[in-house]
Amino acid sequence: MLKVRGLRVRYGQREAVHGLDLEVRAGEIVTLVGSNGAGKTTTLKAISGVLRASAGTVEFEGRRIDGLPPHAIIERGIAHVPEGRLLFKDMTVLEHLELGAIRAPRSAPAYRDRVQRAFELFPKLEERKDQRAGTMSGGEQQMLAIARGLMSAPKLLMLDEPSLGLAPIVVDTLADAIRNLHAAGIVILLVEQRVDMALRLADRGYVVETGRIVLDDRAEALLENPRVKEAYLGV
């Protein structure tokens, strides 16, 4: 479904991603794990078109999408929920959902159905639909950020550090939501620093270090991998 080949991304002179290969197949949850500064976020940004790759290709459903502007990539069916649940603090929940629906593939269900589905997934958001995002808790904000991403009716949802700064119980709710989305047929590319949680959710995982993939395996196998255990799981 998504094929990334030889991706290189640079910020000015400094290259952050040095030739990264990655594949996400239909029906999968794939996770990209690694420590701070490994290039995970940069990779997602390059896929969604927010950053431009200096080399390499990104293919989605067999068509090249590298070089397209972000809104065109969203129309192809990729939604990116950025790190740090970036919201517009003075806008309400419903206003965010409306903005999230500004681009969508032509085949997307009706706007009202999409709102309905987002509320089914996160009932909390329906209770707070007229509340301003800035006044909500961290967990609710993360839910809203994901719901906003879903409003573009994506086939592939890329989540960047959804668990960042959230209480453990909220992280559990979030993990359930990700499973629900996956069950509903959305393919998920998850970037996480909570390696154990990410690998438990995912089918396959990639370990990124300093802009390169260093390990790539089924998630259960990675959980047992001594190198992963030592570096990320602290056992």
Binding site: S48, P69, H71, I74, P82, L86, F88, L99, I102, S152
Partner: protein, 322 residues
Amino acid sequence: MTAAPRMRALGAVAALAVLPWLTGNAFLQHMMVLWAIYALLALSLNIIVGYLGELSFGHAAFFGIGAYTSALLSMQWGVPVWLGPFLGAIVAGAFGLVIGFVALRIVGPQFAILTLGFGAILHTITNYWVDLTRGPMGISNIPPFSLGPIALDFAQARNMYYVALVFLLGVAYVCHALMTSRRGRAFIAVRENPALAASIGIDVFATKLHGFVVATAIAGAGGALYGHYLRVITPELMSLQYVAALIIMVIVGGKGTIVGPLIGALVYVSLLEMLRAAGPLRLVVFAALLTACVIFLPGGLVSLWRRLRERRLAPEPAGASA
């Protein structure tokens, strides 16, 4: 809009409609026309400054383009004067499209400087293209506004006031409708966080260009009204003095709101007249006003009202700082 703000808006419209009948003083009526035209211009600049979050130092040029377009078309080609504001808007908007298409590739202070450059170029061209614009002499004897068969004398301030008011209210309504629509929220999203806006699928460049073209077109319409009312225009319309005036109106009144620029225009027009005796010192007063506003009242004069209301609504703060 819920019931209370709608009643307030209707009340304001009614008050503005009867305003010129409260005085027989022709000078006061003249001031009202100036206010309405300046308020229209301030509202248009507010789209750029308040909604898109960019600063334009070239706005007066579009105002001038509208004024010259309408004056020349009506005088040289006999185009009906009532078409002038619309043609002025189209021509100014077309310039806005071309300039915006180039300048909006970059944002922030660099964009402001670019608009300063484009504004200065347009000002200079107007000043030196004597065959077309009569250069620094300006154009005089511009026909007053007219509505074809409707025989009203629009050289009279009271009648012209209603023309300007119709445009002003129309634009105010469009601004309101825009800002409660998804398009308007996209504007705010682009202002607050362009990177985030892009990542959720908003075409930042197209959104900014859209706002810029609308703003310049409205400025063109305002310029046309101005020309047909004062009946004399010179390239000075495009000078920095008018740019500064518009920026003062928007910032002092309150950017990003609809009422703000209207109040700002009122403050500007009244001070301009009250301080006429002060001569060029007026400009110092305006500079002081702008500076004070930026430091002490960044939300502009409208934010005073909001502060007041919040204080009244809020329960007594227990030892909290004000």
